[in-house]
Amino acid sequence: MGSRVRWMIGTALFCVLASGLSYLEFLLPINAAVPIPGFKLGLSNAIVLFLLHRDRRQAFAVLLGKTALTALLFGGATSFVFSLCGALLSFFGMLALDFLLAEHITDLSLSCAGGVLHNLGQLCAAIAFMGGKALLPYATPLMLAGLCCGAVIGLFLNTFSERMNGVLAKLRF
């Protein structure tokens, strides 16, 4: 199997996996527990961040693919734009931090950055589209909630990344 084909298959599989996590979130009654409109756990960010250390291009491809797929399956055009803004801000924020501070930080703070920035980007897009500051009161709760989820995902990655890389190596990915 050519390396390019392998790369594409890997990307597609991770896209499906990430969308699956988004779907799982969609099924969970999260808004009952955290009553902030627009709040998501961001579980699929675990995959994007995991890939960021392995192959940045693949991580970015999965990010775009998963955002598009999720919007296609259970969102609309507006929600696609919002989540795309959040996803891009989160991705490039994590990329920059990883680039600048790779030796000094772990996935814990990278994932927290992702969580905060994803919600921030989404919110900025919503404010830009709908105009007005009616959404401003949600900013701090959203970002703090994103931070908490990001922390949990980051701790998960700190704990299991090496093992997952080992498994993937065995599968020759």
Binding site: L97, L101, H104, I105, T106, D107, L108, S109, C112, A113, V116, K133, L136, P137, A139, T140, M143, L144, L147, A151, L155, N158, T159, S161, E162
Partner: protein, 120 residues
Amino acid sequence: MKKAKPMDAVLILLFVLVSLVPLTGLLPRPAQSAQIVRVTTPEGTEEYALDDHTIALDSHGYHLTLAVSADGVQVTSSDCPDHTCMKTGKITRAGNAIVCVPAHVRVDLVGGEGYDGIAG
């Protein structure tokens, strides 16, 4: 298994602080100093300086008393039916207003001349 590093804690603290920034947008704006009380009735508009005095108004068959002080103005008595003007309480910021609909009275606090352009 990776252990978190000190810089992780620093960054997370930073993110918490960043998350709190939008709250500052919710704080009340620093009061723009009001300079003048402008009272509008069907008979016309009068302006008064912000110092301690009372203004008696007869308008549209009702009688209102305004108490002006250095920091604002309020309607202290009125024989209008709804007393909404009195319930408004004291206004202290430029741009704020008290309205008495039955008496056709409007009381505005306006900034000084230098502020008029931004007082919107």
